[in-house]
Symmetry: C2
Subunit: 99 residues, 2 copies
């Protein structure tokens, strides 16, 4: 039987799930603007989710101020990738059980 209590609540919330999925979907980091453009989210909401994920140790970020406008890049940390893999494993169990 699936252990739903193992479903990482930090990841499961819709907003953060979408962020984690985007970050996991490619190797290159995402800028704040790219994330904002892809997800329809207010600045405050987006940055709060990013901070929550950062505090959990799931992502790293770096602020660049070199070329043109300043921008911050975000990418999954190793623990973040691991946590997301675990999360996906449960999704897979749900899929297999529900069909």
């Amino acid at each position: 039987m699936i252990d739903f209590s193992k479903l990482d609540k930090t990841i499961h919330e819709k907003g953060r799930l979408s962020i984690m999925t985007l970050l996991a979907s490619r190797v290159e980091p995402w800028s704040f603007q790219d994330l904002k453009g892809e997800l329809e989210m207010s600045d405050g909401n987006l940055i709060t989710h990013l901070r929550t994920l950062g505090t959990a140790g799931y992502l790293d970020s770096e602020k660049f101020t070199g070329d043109g406008r300043p921008q911050t890049l975000y990418w999954l940390s190793a623990p973040g990738r691991k946590a997301f893999e675990d999360y996906l494993a449960i999704l897979e169990q749900i899929l297999n059980m529900g069909r």
Copy 2:
């Protein structure tokens, strides 16, 4: 790109997701006691989630008082199964995108 806004919030919450998964996993209905035994949830919390799903039209229920103790049985309605299928389709997209 995945449309995360289509992620049914009624289903996505952890408690209701576990209920829907259980109900979808077999043809026979589940009794309140079976659900309560499988999911570790208080009576009030469980019944509230069931009512939320019922109000959304995602499940049907019937109260039996014939043999021995009274019991209520719950099962997915046709719209509920459809909504769950749609939900699973998005999970599948997330899985495919994250790997």
